[in-house]
Subunit: 258 residues, 2 copies
């Protein structure tokens, strides 16, 4: 475990050679068009790039950070840790997500942020964001909206945890993840890169690793999903979505693609 805590000296390889800002602009444009001026202001944000190895802590529970962080590559997870070692992941962040915008106004950070796989994040000083927010009401709307969409996702997770069977829950999670990745242009056909162990998935879904395994087999047998190594293929998205009542509206994506 302690070996994993160290930060990997990996270069911030951003996908497709795009710059840091493209990722952020791209993400916000999911919700509304940006003017050139707004894009310029976003580009001017000071970003400090860091890379973390799987399992390492990006933000520690209880800390009061003075930077917000943006997911640039890979996945990060927010997790609540219990004294006895149990843990529950409460959200999974994909490239383009503001991982820790709540730190801007909340006095207490109730959760840890951990690298779900190897991942790269960009830190932006709170001061710079406040400056932007206080003077650019449209950008403020959009940033606020990102936290509201996070909350909508949380509600969907609550419903899954409370009232769905394991298959539905897993299916819903995969549909959600796929749809979010597609919104950022991170899918190819009906597949996307995602390498998580079944143990990681168990902490996302609130179930035991063994049951994750069996539930995955169920979905495979139905022909809805293929998981090979670091890739997930949604072989039959429509049927899967129907089976677990997945309706992407809550993700507030401006363009409901395909």
């Amino acid at each position: 475990m302690s070996v994993l805590m160290r930060k990997l000296p990996r270069a911030p390889l951003l996908h497709e050679g795009g710059g840091l800002v493209e990722i952020l602009v791209n993400a916000l444009q999911q919700y509304d068009v940006l003017t050139d001026g707004e894009k310029r202001l976003l580009s001017a944000l000071p970003i400090h790039v860091m890379t973390y190895g799987k399992g390492s802590e990006i933000v520690r529970q209880g800390e009061r950070p003075d930077h917000a962080c943006i997911q640039l590559d890979g996945f990060a997870a927010r997790a609540l840790l219990f004294a006895d070692g149990r843990r529950q992941i409460t959200s999974l962040h994909i490239p383009g997500d503001f991982v820790d915008l709540q730190g801007l106004y909340a006095k207490h950070i109730d959760h840890s942020v951990i690298a779900f796989g190897n991942c790269t994040v960009g830190f932006v000083p709170h001061a710079a964001l406040r400056q932007l927010i206080d003077h650019q009401s449209h950008l403020m709307h959009l940033l606020w909206l990102t936290t509201l969409v996070d909350a909508a996702i949380d509600r969907a997770w609550i419903a899954c945890l409370g009232r769905r069977f394991a298959v539905e829950h897993l299916g819903h999670f995969l549909c959600e993840l796929f749809t979010r990745m597609r919104g950022r242009g991170l899918t190819i056909d009906n597949a996307f890169a995602f390498s998580a162990t079944q143990i990681d998935l168990a902490d996302v879904l609130g179930m035991s690793p063994v049951h994750v395994n069996r539930t995955l087999q169920g979905l495979r047998r139905l022909g809805h999903v293929t998981l090979d190594g670091g890739r997930i293929v949604m072989s039959n998205l429509d049927e899967l979505a129907a089976m677990c009542e997945f309706d992407p509206a809550y993700l507030n994506q401006r363009v409901e693609r395909r």
Copy 2:
């Protein structure tokens, strides 16, 4: 069911004879002090008061409201409804809460808001709120913060649903509710008014009514909680909090009372 849908012609009895605005001001002051000017602006907000009977829908899933609503008296719940009739409550709102602030910026409302008991809410036009938000950066912070605290509560619910036993979950929920009520001055000693059937609680906790019953009995036997009719008494808050690892920090209350 359809009988319950109708709006009860009940007068907007606000607690302790206080005005509408006191409740809102009081709630925001939980997070930070307000200037007199800010209080005046809040008082000037046009509020349309409505009273609903238990079970009736305040905001319908899928609608796009042009008013935000503030809980004035009683409780309201956000609920996700499934096609087969299952439902999960994703948050419970107490007087002073902004029940539906996300409607301001989110294009889709993914959940219904229902009256958890008989309750009174105030509707404020989005336009008036936008006006306030765009010109009063401090009030904007505070309003944003209320949505962030809602999100923190959601995360705690996710952790409870995913990784806690029924007793811990129920205990945690009661601690949370008590602490929030106390923050608004709605407790007397260690008791507060709360009349929910065990069926309602089941939808909050994601369990079956029968199991709610047995779990409640467990807490009573431990001497931690008394539930008589419309009142909950936290007979032994500290021990209960310890048992279910309840730490109120995530509620971001400025004054950690008692």
